[in-house]
Subunit: 392 residues, 2 copies
Amino acid sequence: MAVSETRIETNGLPRLPHGVRAAGTACGIKSDGAPDLGLIAFDSPAQWAGVFTTNAAAAAPVRWCKQLLGAPVQALVVNSGNANACTGRDGERAVEAAARCAASALGCDPRAVLVASTGPIGVTLPLAPIAAGIPQLAARPGTDLTPFATAIMTTDTVAKLASASAGEAVLVGAAKGAAMLAPNMATMLAFVVTDAAIDSGVMQSALSEAVANSFNRISLDACESTNDSVFLFSTGRTKDVSAGVFGKALAEVCSELAEMIVRDAEGGSKLVRIKVRGASDDDAAAVLAKAVAASSLWRAAAGGGDPNWGRVVAAMGSTDVELDLKELSVGIGGVPLYLYGAPCGNEARAAVEMAGDEFIVECTVGRGPGCVEVLSADLTSAYVELNARGST
Amino acid sequence: MAVSETRIETNGLPRLPHGVRAAGTACGIKSDGAPDLGLIAFDSPAQWAGVFTTNAAAAAPVRWCKQLLGAPVQALVVNSGNANACTGRDGERAVEAAARCAASALGCDPRAVLVASTGPIGVTLPLAPIAAGIPQLAARPGTDLTPFATAIMTTDTVAKLASASAGEAVLVGAAKGAAMLAPNMATMLAFVVTDAAIDSGVMQSALSEAVANSFNRISLDACESTNDSVFLFSTGRTKDVSAGVFGKALAEVCSELAEMIVRDAEGGSKLVRIKVRGASDDDAAAVLAKAVAASSLWRAAAGGGDPNWGRVVAAMGSTDVELDLKELSVGIGGVPLYLYGAPCGNEARAAVEMAGDEFIVECTVGRGPGCVEVLSADLTSAYVELNARGST
């Protein structure tokens, strides 16, 4: 199988930290010849933290990475075009073989190699293209994360990259994701690399918190994936970065990547910010906002530019969160539609606010301190048609 | 506003029990002049039982009926074209006024009149057309339930009627529903009338059980409605009907109506039976089956005839139910696709089974006694387009 090099596009992002290199290529997993194999390699063992899908059908690569948590790693191999999920013992063997390929090319232990996969479920990962592709990636790694970000795309239409600085240190991240994106997960694939020297426990807690407030605050189709994973790597070369400054920078990168994912939603035509405030706590607010984000009826109305606030209220009412309609108000784009339990007209004005490619739904559900913003997308015929054909 | 009589179609159903009459008409709530007002009237006060939506945003008519539970009733007024949900105090006044109209026409107490509504949320029920329509309905009631079943339709394309006998007694039922249909509810609008003399406690428990195994085992779009209600009325004229025989007949009528609803799903092109067996109990089986029924990705694949069993497994894996993949098997139309945690090919054969307008997804999740069958529909562009325009 031919191995071709992917186009490298510059994008104004800072280079990867010293001691980190990345590459991407088309190795032949995807039948259309698009880039499908990425590598991040570390000159010295890197500390890492990870957050993974809670799906009981977690893919073989997810299970491989989870058992390696705690020990430093030398490399990460990511393929698109195949999720290697629900593939049984064959899938496990394929992950180990991919790790061995990379270990051999880089001269490290296979258990110092993480593996992540994304694509259709139920097809065992083919080894020949990976075995051919890895040595090429290992031979020509660069300091630009773009080829890697391009190689991990599935139905994504743009590569997703973000960066931030934390004191003297930098954070550079990449993500992919366009569907099978929903609450209760540790979300799609995202990778953040930094040179900040951060205690490994702090790394894990900072990542968990950043994920909770970014990737776990988006919902495209209410379908939880088998492969969601977010990784944070650190070379530890830049000392004296405060945990607070680092956490803030990490949250910024994760939020930026999460928003990029929603803007690139499969078939989506609008980014819809669902804000809920006045709930008893943030968790209750999130349950309500995610119920709206998951409502097919509301999402279809959002796509059609119809200010159907009734579907918003019905979706919130269907959760286990207690609601007092007399305390409930809903507005769209600053236009009140339902105020303290009664309709207040204004649909024509709200429809104007929904006409663009982004709008806000604001729900006040009481006088509690709980609030949240969930990013979501509309439901369109394009999504249905894309997924009727399968393969993602 | 003109009040026109709806067409009455005969359909081979048994006539309503003695002492029960029904009618339907177009009173002008719907702007297209379609039938939108139905009445069922009892010569003598009838015992009744009801199961209602658990949505916190339950509509005004639902709240009206719930507080009347326990006392016999003389009539039921149902309108389509307006849900009278999320309409605040105005909505409550509209329900009371509709009950008063019927009470005046029939010569009974307003609190002996139940009211049910279905249609768009957030618009207060207009009283003028109802006030004009009720006397006409009261003047010309018949023993055929079809005009009533026609008057309660929204985006339904067919009137839904079913009947069964329980010893010497008959049960005749009607239902409507095409979207905003999901788990955790006491389901859309359905009405069953019988002459069987059944203890009122038994009536309520038989209805709750029949609903649990019929209307609560269907899921069209995972959206729970604000107006779901199922009513069972009895004139009590036919004595000596055993509770067991009656319960079985009631379950039969409810299941038949539930299946009619799924076959008439908004935009749906296929009826999909999702069978889960081997769960720890029936409730766990239902959680798993409903997660599959609610998955937009799986439903889009179902519409496209793509045997994407990976989306079925991912949907089950996303629930709180513990799953052991090594015990998990999925087949479609009798064709095994995923066997004890590993793919087994056969996609082409399964695609053939999916080509018709109905197919079965069989999931074995372990060795427990829990099993369930959930009826669902596929997700199509037609559903999205219909709901992008709003108004239902």
